[in-house]
């Protein structure tokens, strides 16, 4: 997923939530990035800085945590962490859930794989000033 698009979504979603909560400012938030989403943190922080200018999010402290990507084999049960490098295919930048198409189980060679962790992006906590 492209960092600019992620940042646009974050700003829009948080401003909407802030309004609902009657916030004057959002002073900080924690973002969890699933590793398989392949989001580059520095690019995301840059886009967030640019896009939050003039909004209640401007100047908010952003804490980023990564959830490790985990893939499991439905054939032999083996589970492994494919790591960030597995997202080298450009396709996975936009559709990370296609990751199993590019892998084989390192133990038994099966292609019946499932992603068991590291999928998605979400804001898990928020600090607001009323």
């Amino acid at each position: 997923m492209h960092e600019w698009a992620v940042a646009e979504g974050i700003v829009e979603a948080l401003v909407e939530r802030g309004r609902k909560e009657g916030a004057k400012r959002i002073t900080g938030f924690r973002l969890i990035l699933g590793e398989i989403q392949g989001v580059e943190e520095e690019a995301l922080r840059f886009a967030l800085r640019e896009l939050s200018r003039g909004t209640m999010l401007e100047g908010a402290e952003v804490t980023v945590e990564r959830e490790r990507g985990r893939v499991g084999c439905r054939g032999c049960g083996f589970e492994w962490f494919p790591g960030e490098g597995s997202g080298e295919e450009e396709a996975l930048h936009f559709l990370p859930d296609l990751l199993p198409l590019f892998l084989k189980c390192p133990r038994c060679g099966s292609v019946d794989l499932e992603i068991r962790g590291g999928r998605g992006i979400w804001v898990s906590s928020l600090e607001i000033e009323r």
Binding site: M1, H2, W4, A5, V6, E8, G9, I10, E12, A13, L14, E16, R17, G28, F29, R30, Q37, T63, R74, E90, A91, L92, H93, F94, L95, P96, D97, L98, P100, L101, F102, V111, D112, L113, E114, I115, R119, G120, I121, W122, V123, S124, S125, L126, E127, I128
Partner: protein, 243 residues
């Protein structure tokens, strides 16, 4: 920092998806319970016809396991990355398919990630201003359909059937399910049918005859639009546009 409870956690892709789809005036999703009833051919033909009428039109092939719109159009085109994902331009359409990401790899893929993939696609794709986005859906009423209903509440469903009872009964159930979910139903199209019999409780947009010439026309949009299939689809489109 205030921790957000499970159901209050914020997935930023949802806001991004809503905003990107707000540039699309009409979203028309072509669905059916069964495979092989002609959804892809009808989707691509309707999209081409809309484009020839001067509407800004997109075609999204959401069949993750068996994409085929690129074969009908005769070209896959190239997607680009520019402030998001820019669809390919093919035959006057903005076009996006899972084939742009999978290439020719076999699509051995469990359904677990489909909902997340739809969110990724809708939140990143820059369709730009479109009059119509035609969505070629996979068969069935599973993850893709439910996720589309959640993300794009304004979508209209065009339901494809054949005259066979095997298809009609499932489609009737699907229509009922869509209604219960509060979805907008554009109507039913009966494929392989020159004189469709009426459907109870749902608008019949028309029938589309079997045309053996379609096979030869696959991959050649101009030739496809000269088939009787396309002229019947054109009548279906006129009926749909009448509202």
């Amino acid at each position: 920092m205030g921790e957000l409870a499970g159901d209050r956690k914020i997935d930023p892709r949802e806001a991004a998806a809503r905003r990107r789809l707000s540039e699309v005036k009409s979203l028309l999703s072509v669905v059916s319970c069964k495979g092989g009833v002609g959804k892809s051919l009808l989707s691509a033909t309707l999209a081409l016809l809309l484009s020839r009428k001067g509407y800004r039109t997109g075609l999204l092939d959401l069949d993750f396991h068996s994409p085929s719109a690129h074969l009908i159009l005769g070209e896959t085109g190239r997607i680009a990355e520019e402030g998001g994902l820019v669809p390919a331009e093919v035959r006057g359409l903005r076009f996006l398919s899972v084939i742009h990401f999978s290439g020719q790899r076999p699509l051995l893929l469990r359904k677990g990630g489909i909902a997340s993939s739809l969110l990724d696609l809708f939140s990143t794709t820059r369709w730009g201003r479109l009059d119509y986005l035609v969505v070629d859906m996979p068969p069935g009423s599973g993850d893709e359909l439910l996720e589309l209903l959640r993300l794009a509440k304004g979508t209209e469903f065009l339901v494809v059937s054949t005259p066979s009872r095997l298809s009609r009964e499932s489609v009737e159930r699907m229509v009922e399910g869509l209604r219960t979910a509060g979805a907008r139903i554009a109507g039913v199209v009966e494929n392989f049918s020159s004189s469709p019999s009426p459907w109870k409780g749902v608008r019949l947009l028309g029938g589309v005859r079997y045309d053996p010439g379609v096979e030869e026309a696959l991959g050649d949009a101009d030739r496809l639009l000269r088939t009787s299939f396309a002229s019947d689809a054109g009548r279906v489109l006129e009926e749909y546009l009448r509202g």
